[in-house]
């Protein structure tokens, strides 16, 4: 959960090498890099032109205010519904789908790193209504141990795209791709155990409405096409189904010690699996 939007944005712009000037609790000025200017400022012709005449071009600055209410300043108000934040979210989601990360070690002694497959999954329940749930599942790729709340477990560890000196990885026994399938199967079984009342209700609503529809059109030969179309769209609207969608996934190499901490620890509250 994003609890502090200001911190979140600060982190985002810093990750992307932008200079961030904090003016108050809610106000910040960001000097964009060329990369982020191209992502956020929507001026492809400018950059095209600069490239053509061989100039570097001047990235723009963003002036943001994260207050809960719009203030009378010349800053751009950014909140969870604002197009600007949607744009940033989109950018993050697109670029954070896959990874391979190594736990940081002191780099002094030889340290073996154990492979984990870490997956974050969004489940869409679609029927008369719609809801979503999120599952973060880790699979140890040597012994096949599976853990829920994986991102929570990972919170305390420092991970890096590069391996520390003297670390070395142990090759997975379970291939990541079959690991992904295992997680699918596991999750499916879990979902089938859940309360299915919403499924029943949606199915009932759908069949009732289809009956009404058939009756309404039963003497209207000329409107057969409308009937078929209505039925199709009705089914789309009410038929219960579940879709499993990956948010992101990665191969995480962890030290023996960290692996053991995760395996032994249990989060009682909020544990779904």
């Amino acid at each position: 959960m994003i609890t502090n939007l200001n911190d979140f944005l600060h982190q985002y712009f810093t990750i992307h090498d932008c200079e961030v000037i904090t003016e108050s609790n809610t106000e910040m000025t960001i000097r964009l890099t060329r990369e982020l200017d191209q992502v956020l400022m929507n001026r492809p012709f400018y950059w095209h032109y600069m490239d053509k005449i061989g100039r570097a071009g001047e990235p723009m600055s963003l002036y943001l205010d994260t207050s809960t209410e719009k203030k009378d300043n010349n800053k751009e108000w950014i909140h969870f519904g604002s197009p600007r934040l949607q744009q940033i979210f989109h950018h993050i989601k697109q670029n954070a789908r896959f990874t391979i990360l190594y736990e940081e070690t002191n780099g002094e002694s030889k340290t073996p790193l154990h492979p984990w497959l870490v997956t974050n999954i969004m489940v869409h329940y679609r029927g008369k209504q719609k809801k979503e749930s999120i599952h973060s599942i880790g699979l140890q790729l040597i012994n096949g141990i599976m853990k829920a709340n994986m991102m929570k477990h990972m919170d305390e560890f420092t991970m890096d795209l590069r391996m520390s000196d003297y670390s070395f990885t142990i090759s997975p026994i379970i291939k990541p791709v079959s690991g992904l399938r295992r997680i699918f199967n596991y999750l499916e079984n879990f979902l089938l155990e859940e309360d299915m009342q919403w499924v029943e209700e949606s199915k009932k609503a759908l069949s009732e409405e289809i009956q009404l529809l058939n009756y309404f059109f039963h003497q209207q030969e000329e409107n057969k096409e409308i009937l078929e179309k209505e039925k199709e769209r009705l089914t789309e609207r009410l038929e219960p189904r579940i879709e499993i969608e990956f948010i992101n996934a990665g191969l995480f190499y962890l030290t023996e010690k960290s692996s053991q901490i995760i395996i032994k620890r249990d989060y009682e509250a909020g544990t779904k699996e």
Partner: protein
């Protein structure tokens, strides 16, 4: 219980590809951020609305939130929104649309609204709801535009009809859906044929008074819900039953219709205070008034009513129109006409205009002044300028940019806006709470539209309306007989359009004109006007009684 579960198989392929290319790998912070975004944006329950959280700048009223919840949870996204005028049906529809979009259920949307409201809808959806809606311009791309606002007439026209019917819409909204109440019309058939998942029909007229109207509207939303047309007619026509006499039918309808009334919203509505300002003509003016009247009475071929009406507005309006009339004549009694024009020319001022200046000068408030005539508009602008009162003018024919600019000038710099047409474009002038009807339209609908510019949702002050009327003229008769009698100023007349069409009086202005033209004496016109208003009045009361039963 079986349930279909679909997996994101393509992700596995993408994963295999991506881990071979280090440049595609996310660093730890970014990976975490993406997870945090998903946690923050997820829709955690079937029930609660998520949209208000994403629209922190909007304050919804309780009845609007309830409406959206009801439509989404109990009506599965197909409903008739029939709130009384001014309760914010557009807001409710926008909220429902936003909610479905946030839940990932809706991408492709078609919104059909009256031509006069197209821009208003676009503005509200874009600015208030941050929904990127586009209006259908000259080069409209039905296929590739996700959220389009258009009119029923454009959409059903030969040019576009086929393309639109080929699209699969996730959401269709039809504003002013009473245009769909007859299942034999092209409008109805077109909307019936649209491929749509969710659907909202919006109307302010109490459709439930007519059984077939409500049957047809509901059959667009939930075909078969009230049986077939034949069943329905048989069952209810034979028994001569009405909706309000049948609790079972009422119950059925309540499951597809939301109808809030002002009285049950529990919201404080600002008051509208009405004051009629009686202005006497000077002797000289009154004499000229009769001169105009007599002149045209003698030229029997044509009625004097247009010209005396104009004279009640300004010398300019009347003068220009007489000049135009002269040009159209083949034979003419020149000395007589010249005398008439000279008499008008000699008038130093116009009593109403002087009164207007006096009223505006006595206050620091902003005023919007409505007149029926462009000549009057220009005269008033000149007069206010002489008096150093900053004023802007506004016409229906202005381009959108100019309208917005005038509105802004009025808000920030001018004290007065002089407008000729209110209906054309739905501009909101909530920052202003004084309105002057410099002359009265003879069509009450137009009057309500005028008042609706300032007395609407979001108006925080009581609204004061001044009606100017000239003593001993046609103004006086219209004011007393037409307006005061049906209490138009006091009531919000959302139903009037329906009443007039039910009574087969689509053009009330013409009716009133005819009464004046055909009456031989003042007494006769009084009686006829009285009859007309009595009919409207009794129908109005009848309807109110029915409404309360439902």
């Amino acid at each position: 219980m079986s349930i279909s579960i679909s997996r994101d198989e393509t992700f596995i392929q993408e994963y295999e590809e991506a881990i071979k290319t280090p440049s595609q790998l996310a660093d730890w912070q970014l990976f975490k951020q993406s997870y945090q975004i998903a946690e923050t944006m997820k829709v955690p329950s079937f029930k609660d609305l998520v949209a208000p959280k994403f629209l922190p700048h909007l304050e919804f009223l309780p009845h609007q939130l309830e409406c959206a919840e009801k439509v989404i949870q109990h009506m599965n996204g197909r409903a008739l929104l029939a709130d009384e005028v001014g309760l914010g049906k557009t807001i409710e529809a926008g909220l429902i649309l936003k909610e479905y979009m946030l839940r990932g259920l809706v991408q492709k949307v078609l919104i059909l609204v009256p031509a006069s409201l197209v821009n208003q809808w676009a503005l509200e959806l874009n600015q208030k709801f941050l929904i990127p809606a586009v209006t259908s311009g000259k080069r409209v791309d039905w296929q590739n535009t996700n959220i389009l606002i258009s009119t029923l007439d454009t959409a059903k026209s030969v040019r576009h009809r086929q393309t639109i019917l080929e699209q699969d819409y996730d959401f269709v909204i039809v504003d002013e859906a009473h245009k769909l109440k007859n299942h034999k019309t092209k409008n109805f058939q077109f909307v019936q044929q649209l491929s749509k998942k969710y659907c909202l029909l919006l109307t302010a007229t109490p459709v439930q008074n007519k059984l077939t109207d409500i049957f047809n509207l509901i059959s667009l939303l939930k075909p078969g819900y009230l049986g077939t047309y034949e069943d329905f007619i048989k069952q209810y026509k034979e028994q001569k039953r009405k909706v309000d006499e049948d609790p079972y039918l009422k119950q059925l309808i309540s499951k597809v219709m939301v109808r809030n009334r002002r009285s049950d919203t529990g919201v404080h509505w600002t008051k509208r205070e009405i004051e009629t300002i009686w202005v006497p003509f000077t002797d000289q003016e009154l004499e000229t008034y009769h001169q105009v009247e007599q002149f045209f009475k003698h030229n029997t071929a044509i009625s004097s009513i247009t010209y005396v009406r104009e004279f009640c507005s300004s010398r300019e309006a009347c003068y220009l129109s007489i000049k135009k009339w002269i040009q159209q004549q083949e034979t003419i009694n020149l000395p007589e006409v010249k005398g008439l024009l000279a008499a008008i020319e000699q008038l130093p001022h116009h009593a109403k205009a002087l009164k207007l200046v006096e009223l505006i000068k006595s206050s620091d408030e902003k005023f919007i002044v409505f007149t029926e005539y462009r000549a009057t508009q220009i005269y008033l602008q000149w007069l206010l300028q002489q008096e150093k009162i900053p004023a802007v003018i506004y016409r229906g024919g202005f381009k959108k940019g100019k309208k917005d600019w005038m509105r802004q000038l009025f808000q920030n710099h001018a004290q007065v806006m002089i407008a000729t047409e209110a209906a054309g474009e739905g501009i909101n002038l909530q920052f202003c709470h004084r309105l002057i009807n410099y002359d009265l339209p003879w069509n009450p609908m137009r009057l309500e539209q005028r008042i609706g510019r300032i007395h609407r949702f979001g108006q925080e002050n009581d609204v004061k309306i001044y009606n100017f009327a000239l003593k001993n003229t046609v103004d006086e008769q219209v004011m007393n007989l037409l307006y005061n009698k049906i209490q138009l100023f006091e009531n919000v007349i959302g139903h009037l359009e329906q009443i007039l069409s039910d009574l087969n009086l689509p053009n009330i202005e013409r009716e009133v004109e005819q009464i004046f033209e055909e009456s031989k004496s003042v007494g006769e016109s009084k009686i006829k006007l009285d009859n007309l208003t009595s009919v409207i009045q009794s129908y109005q009361q009848d309807n109110e009684a029915k409404e309360h039963l439902l």
